[in-house]
Amino acid sequence: MNAVTTPGKQIRVMVVDDHPMWREGVCRDLAAAGYDVAAATGEGRQAVRIAAAARPDVVVLDLQLPDISGVEVIQGLLEAVPGVRVLMLSASGEQQSVLDAVKAGASGYLLKSAGLSEFLDAVARTAAGDTVFTPGLAGLVLGEFRRLAVEPPVADGTTPRLTERETEVLRLVAKGLSYRQIAERLVLSHRTVQNHVQNTLGKLQLHNRVELTRYAIEQGLE
């Protein structure tokens, strides 16, 4: 695991999942792979509360918690620990909730059916600041940009748009190509492909924050 080999500092991971067996399993796997499991909990509110003290670098978050929604947990976590990177896991792959969580600031998503090596690789990439996209998530993000494009434009013209290259890259991710395969096909560097994917997510998250602020102003909350 490349992230763990960095000498001196272990990566701190917090695990939030309401299923005890699953949570313990994930903690064990992470510890075995050399991560410092800073905290583990099964509730969203508690996760937000203890995050400030645990100061994780990465949060492995089950999207479906019994108390509050995934979006609320992510917003709470980002407030408590600015810059924390959230890798979402979900068993059912519910579409809208995954998209909402990504817009709220999660930086990666993985189905729980993923194998152990795939999971550890995703955690390492999330810790390194990369974006972890499943083909399904790429399809959702593509769809979201298309939805925004046909919606009536907002007054200040902040409708986010993908560049042609970004669309091309995202389509290939949605079709299941790895970043390496995409780099080969488009004759780009691996890093460039990674940047394109990250940019699409950044645009979506920025747009979401603008929308939220606008909504707050409209509602007279600010």
Partner: protein, 380 residues
């Protein structure tokens, strides 16, 4: 009739009130005509009791029909007979000669009310039946068969037919609306269940799959089975049943494709429903199934396939890519020439019928990609 009638009460209420209002207005009209013509009657003294019966029956039916439970044959038949009786009494009260001279009957206009009541209660067949009976009585009573008499009867027949048809239409749309509401409620319930199942069964299956992944023998086999079932169950709970009413009703293409997701097949689609007429969506889903079937048949077991659904304003694009061995371009063309490319032909045929295009790209060791583009314009 009674079942659907009960459901459409909300729509029938105003119609019954309209009949009551019509009856009252007609009663006033009859009363005015009696007052103006009574001196020409053969038995003028009998006109007043008949008018009283007419008024009484108007009041009674107004209250009786207000109760949905009584809008049934006993009251309807009584209504028809009483009205016919009033109409027939004209023969004795007014007399043959004045009637033949064109004096109006004692139930003029008023006699249409029960006919419309029959049409509302039983649809156009009952309406036409009542109109024929009432029209026949009217003609016999008036005993002069000129254009005007026939026109009255024909108009009554048309009115009964039209009202009967309208009522049936209203009932049908009410039932459809009801069904749509029920379907929506069922879908919501299913979604709620799906979320519940997520927390228990899926997690355990995924856990079993993961913990047993590295094990040999039976334990490894069990883990593999758990993984397969997990994928199948996830596809089931996320894909609601899409039961289309007819070819033009819109369905969500993503929902139709949901069942094809498995441990080896990934489906990427927008979060919002990709709405297409059910016939079009069905054809696209069948084409995707054919492509996936081809992957399963010709590639090694466990070959991964990826389906991407893209919804654009002008067209819908669906791509199916596999990581199989691929086909050399010259072999693809050769196979097509010899008519051996069954799957490609079946896909091309289906999509061409929808006005769409199919692009198949493949290279050895790079898998095959089938891209279907169906324009929304041709879909209408």
């Amino acid at each position: 009739m009674t079942d659907s009638g009960a459901r459409a009460h909300g729509l029938q209420g105003p119609l019954w009130r309209a009949i009551a209002v019509y009856r009252i207005v007609a009663l006033v009209y009859v009363a005015i005509l009696v007052v103006r013509n009574v001196r020409a009657y053969e038995r003028p003294m009998l006109a007043w009791p008949v008018l009283a019966i007419t008024a009484g029956w108007t009041v009674f039916t107004t209250y009786a029909y207000a109760d949905p439970a009584r809008r049934r044959p006993p009251l309807l038949v009584a209504d028809l007979l009483v009205t016919m009786g009033v109409l027939a009494s004209s023969v004795w009260v007014i007399g043959r000669a004045p009637l033949e001279l064109g004096r109006p009957t004692l139930a003029v206009a008023w006699h249409v009310a029960p006919v419309i009541a029959w049409a509302v209660a039983g649809g156009r067949r009952w309406g036409v039946l009542a109109a024929l009976a009432m029209g026949g009585t009217d003609l016999v009573v008036r005993a002069h068969y000129d254009q005007a008499s026939f026109t009255g009867t024909v108009l009554m027949l048309l009115a009964a037919y039209a009202v009967g048809t309208l009522v049936r239409l209203a009932e049908t749309s009410q039932i459809r609306l009801q069904r749509a509401i029920e379907l929506e409620a069922a879908t919501r319930e299913r979604e709620r269940l799906a979320r519940d199942i997520h927390d228990s069964v899926l997690q355990v299956l995924a856990l079993v799959k993961r913990r047993g992944a590295g094990l040999d023998g039976e334990a490894g086999e069990l883990a593999r089975l758990a993984g397969e079932q997990e994928a199948a169950l996830r596809a089931l709970v996320t894909g609601a049943t899409a039961s289309a009413v007819d070819d033009n009703a819109e369905v969500d293409l993503t929902t139709l494709l949901g069942p094809y997701a498995s441990t080896t097949v990934s489906i990427a689609a927008p979060a919002a429903a990709v709405r297409l007429p059910s016939k079009v969506a069905g054809e696209i889903a069948a084409a995707v199934a054919a492509a996936l079937d081809n992957v399963a048949r010709h590639c090694e077991p466990g070959t991964k396939a990826f389906v991407l659904v893209e919804d654009e304003p002008g067209e819908v694009t669906v791509s199916v890519r596999d990581e199989g061995c691929g086909i050399a371009p010259e072999r693809l063309a050769e196979a097509a020439e010899q008519g051996r490319l069954g799957f490609a032909q079946s896909i091309r045929g289906r999509i061409a019928d929808l006005g769409g295009t199919v692009r198949i790209t493949s290279a050895p060791a790079q898998g095959t990609e089938v891209e279907l583009v169906v324009p929304r314009a041709s879909i209408g």
